[in-house]
Symmetry: C2
DNA sequence: TGTTAGAATTGACATTTATCAAGTGCGAGC
DNA sequence: GCTCGCACTTGATAAATGTCAATTCTAACA
């Protein structure tokens, strides 16, 4: 692995505070690999063999049942995924596939478990990471249970808008089909939800969205830090 | 606190492996209290002052937004709740209230954080607990995103039935209003879902449910261990 | 045993969301 | 620049779910 990538991984909250020995141990056992777009990485139900770190590209976590598919999350650099399954030595609850061509680090699950048994700093970092993941999905769950499809879209737009500088327009970070699945609706319904938001100053131009009336969009969306704020 | 209660808490997976000193330290700082039914314990948005342990009774975790309320989970003895907020020293994402008269142990958040910084065994136990909580809510999220209301009810009935011995009937663990909210539907809709399941051998008698045709109910429900199995 | 308050059910209806079937438009590759 | 495929949109319709109001049931209690 190149020094640049090592430093990137080392700087992650999860690995930052662990000892050099333990980190070296993890990294030496790991595989760095580049995958093409749309490649299946893991399938729900399979035993958790690796902890994954996304270094470049984008990975989609999804789940299937009853002939339906739902996107659970989209993982962008630099972050890990399916940590909980690895720690529990259990099967994956979600499948994963690349969206774009992606560079990933695969750390054998056994080494991760060993590291948290022996390195107390790493264990504490894992606690923080897991607590964040947990709170993230609690927020997603509240979003889905407490809001209509249009409200979910409106809040998502406000979030992306703020993330991207809040200058009146935003770029959708992935295609509308995936956005629809993330928001828990069909692509058709997403189209209609955008139309519903037109009177609130939402103008769609491909994957660029212009927000010309933030005030009325915010009144409609009623954003709530306990759902939409991704840092706390 | 009575020795019996101490032993009960000590035997929890979260506290079992920690050192005696650290455990004594936690317990000595804690408050044991009995609360009447329907009492608000915590409100989402408030800073996390205590880790709660339910010793007797039942506590409902719920969330509110947009004039709507959703039950997130029901906590029965003996288990903890809102661990993640305590560890992160953040605000609660969910509110909590007693369902029945309940005996709770309140451990000051600061002591919990101290304990996981100093006791590596406790830190590892927290990791296991958090990983379980995370996977639990991932399953809830999949349930909600991938299934219709009737399917969610059918699978829930099968789960309770199996938990209670699988002898053809089951007792709903709480009232239908709460069950409806847990399942993400209105009480009216729950009533209708029960009617929809009548042809599949589901007979409602107050809070007792008889399942006379498990086979066809299972065909309808299509239970999935990656959603319904609460142990893995 | 009768009363009563809250829970549960039912019916009528509105709203939301999904489905199916055409279209339309845009971008990659020739 | 053309065209082919695919994502996206739109329309018509169906299904699922929510809302409101009225009624029935049930269990606690006088």
């Amino acid at each position: 692995m190149r020094a640049e990538n090592i430093q990137e991984v080392r700087s992650l909250a999860l690995f930052r505070s662990m000892s050099d020995e333990a980190f070296q141990n993890l990294v030496q056992a790991a595989y760095l690999q580049t995958f093409p777009a749309q490649l299946d990485l893991i399938r729900e139900g399979d035993p958790a063999d690796f902890l994954y770190v996304v270094l470049e590209g984008c990975v989609e976590l999804y789940a299937q049942a009853n002939m339906r598919t739902a996107t659970m999350a989209l993982i962008r650099p630099v972050s890990t995924f399916i940590l909980a399954a690895v720690l529990k030595d259990a099967v994956y609850l979600m499948s994963a596939r690349t969206c774009d061509k992606s560079k990933l680090l695969l750390i054998p699950a056994e080494n991760v478990r060993q590291a948290f048994e022996t390195d107390a700093d790493f264990a504490r970092a894992i606690i923080r990471e897991l607590a964040n993941c947990y709170r993230g999905i609690v927020k997603d769950h509240k979003d889905l249970k407490l809001r209509s499809a249009v409200e979910r879209l409106a809040n998502r737009l406000l979030r992306y808008h703020a993330d991207q500088g809040g200058n009146g327009s935003l770029e959708l970070p992935y295609d509308k089909r995936r956005l629809a699945s993330v928001l828990g609706m069909t692509p058709e319904n997403l189209s209609r939800a955008f139309n519903t938001l037109k009177p609130y100053g939402v103008e769609v131009d491909g994957s660029t969205i212009h927000l010309s009336d933030l005030k009325s969009l915010t009144v409609l969306a009623k954003p709530n830090p306990l759902i939409d704020d991704r840092t706390t």
